[in-house]
Symmetry: C3
Subunit: 261 residues, 3 copies
């Protein structure tokens, strides 16, 4: 049985997510899982980074993982000419508008399609809610075993929209990266992969220099410190407080990692 997981900026209060679930649940027996619906409205980067973070847990390295269908709808361009993308890797599939959301996926996409076959869309569909009218019925059909090629033509994976994101270079000193998210605990999560660094000396964030490192949160009782976070990237944290608030650092700010002993 496939796993259909949903990622949107629709929030919990409006009927949009429920409508998508209705279309999916009434048409197939896949498990339906919420990734999040609390993406900030229209924040394609946040959605893309979220998907990048969690997709590997669903697809795993294991051949035995259940087929995953990711449905990511952060879609300010709904109803315009933007394409709907269907990406395929192994027996897993990703559906998203062609607005850069899929450009952050860490792994190579094997095949990419443009979803255009109207036979799979809801009859009488709207121009304002493709999540319900196109994404959901296509997801249900994918979960039921319909081959990806039935939904539209194969396209060049290199032709999709990209977000203006540059991964860190590990050849420079210091290594320069980006704060890619701030979590509910106020941890500042960067894109600098700890495994690719020699020993970290200190971390510079805005006007602040963080010199203390740790291996887990409970190790430090006061003051900001850096550690390797759950994504394998460098993270700056504050014991039982918000590092983001204390240091006044927000997403997209630059971070420098200086090699040290």
């Amino acid at each position: 049985m496939a796993v259909v997981s949903l990622l949107t900026d629709f929030g919990a209060r409006d009927p949009y997510v429920a409508a998508m679930k209705g279309v999916i649940a009434s048409r197939c027996s896949a498990a339906i899982i919420d990734l999040t619906h609390e993406i900030a409205p229209f924040d394609v980067f946040e959605a893309g980074w979220f998907l990048r973070s969690v997709a590997p847990q669903f697809t795993g390295e294991r051949e035995t993982a259940r087929p995953a269908v990711f449905v990511a709808v952060v879609d300010p361009g709904v109803g315009s000419g933007r394409r709907i993308l269907l990406a395929e890797r192994g027996h897993h599939r990703y559906l998203a508008p062609d607005n850069g959301l899929l450009s952050l996926l860490p792994r190579r996409i094997e095949r990419m399609y443009s979803v255009e076959n109207r036979a799979f869309f809801l009859p009488g569909e709207s121009t304002t809610f493709h999540g319900r009218d196109r994404f959901a019925p296509v997801a249900a059909a994918l979960a039921s075993g319909t081959p990806a090629a039935e939904f539209g033509p194969a396209i060049d994976p290199g032709s999709i929209e990209k977000l203006p994101y540059e991964p860190p270079s590990y050849d420079t000193s210091p290594v320069i990266g980006t704060v890619v998210s701030v979590d509910r605990f106020g941890n500042l999560i960067t894109d600098i992969e700890a495994g690719r660094l020699p020993a970290v000396g200190h971390v510079v964030l805005g006007r602040h220099t963080v010199t203390r490192g740790a291996t887990h949160y409970a190790e430090v009782v006061d003051g900001p410190f850096f550690l390797t976070g759950s994504a394998g990237t460098l993270e700056v944290s504050l014991p039982r407080g918000s590092a983001a608030e204390m240091l006044q650092i927000a997403r997209f700010e630059r971070v420098e990692v200086h090699v040290g002993s």
Copy 2:
């Protein structure tokens, strides 16, 4: 396998929804789906309009849709003499307190029952949480195939409580309707069905007149505009901002649609 979907004003933080899920999940193998639990406390209209918006996606037009059991618990009268209603249409069922919540459903209910058979309720039930003690075990029994008539006597569908809501009349000019919800994007959603209007000239909301129309959100880059929303009704939107805030319009305000060219 049936689909049991839950709609409440219980929020995400308290144990009420989880308790209902425990009763259902331990007693049947139905898929359990959250519609929303963020209905404003005691807001029966919001719950009823939400259910009206999403139920058709679950029940579809298709004979093949999985059996749906809707459980809607916005229930300020819990423990009083108010009835619990079980509405049936085809092989789909709706459970809700008799407080008007079901009166907004767009489609004809075929059979209506009053849920009274205590054999289906939890032993030692409370007077304060029928969601867990009555609705949940009845939903589990429905999902397991128990016929509706076993839960209590058939009643006249015309005898249920109604909300003081009047749908628009399409015979007048202008057509007068109501803002029935404001979504997280600040879109003002009305109950005026676009398909029943000739060309829309302009829309009047409070002191404002909206003269620009569009077919999808991304078409307009500034200023408020009207379009046909995902429910098929007229909607007033603002590009990447809240029309509700800009125009200072809230739910239940009157909207006038003037026919034009």
Copy 3:
């Protein structure tokens, strides 16, 4: 099919819950149910009381209840030496860090294990996210039928961490208890079991004395009143308003119940 239910302080916006779901859903076919993810960050008491409140609905008194696997991750000590506990009662299991969370469970735990077998953990696991790297794969293995003893050594249930919580004594007059939670409606929920009291005369909360009692919420139209809440304990409520705000009472405040006629 087992039911895996998740209780965390991870919130709805970050990718942590989704990552846990990915590990579980890709490895087993259990139903995955959200209890809540809105526990206040690091609030072990809130998590423990929540679990205490809802676990009986999943496990029931019924031999026929589906196997339940509870995964409770409120874990400020992640990566430190704190143990991961696996508690067993009948065919139901509870996973939580050894920080007191499980000490509030109302029923006798039959067997307790320390989860230490690294063969069940994700390869390359982090020191910051055991929810994904240890709890989730262990939950999936439990849901797939792996016996509890395979995860680590049996330990003395009396050796686990306890929270500094004292249940009420029913021998004193007045009976002294605690406000254990405040729900979204502003109800003040105490730990005093109504069934163990003779008739309640009045309730003292801070500077306030509540003299009116009721059997259900809709019975009273103004002013605070007490009733037996859904947990079977005494609760103080305000009609369509927040008793907590009106009386300025928060969690952990003392409550006195005076016996009366």
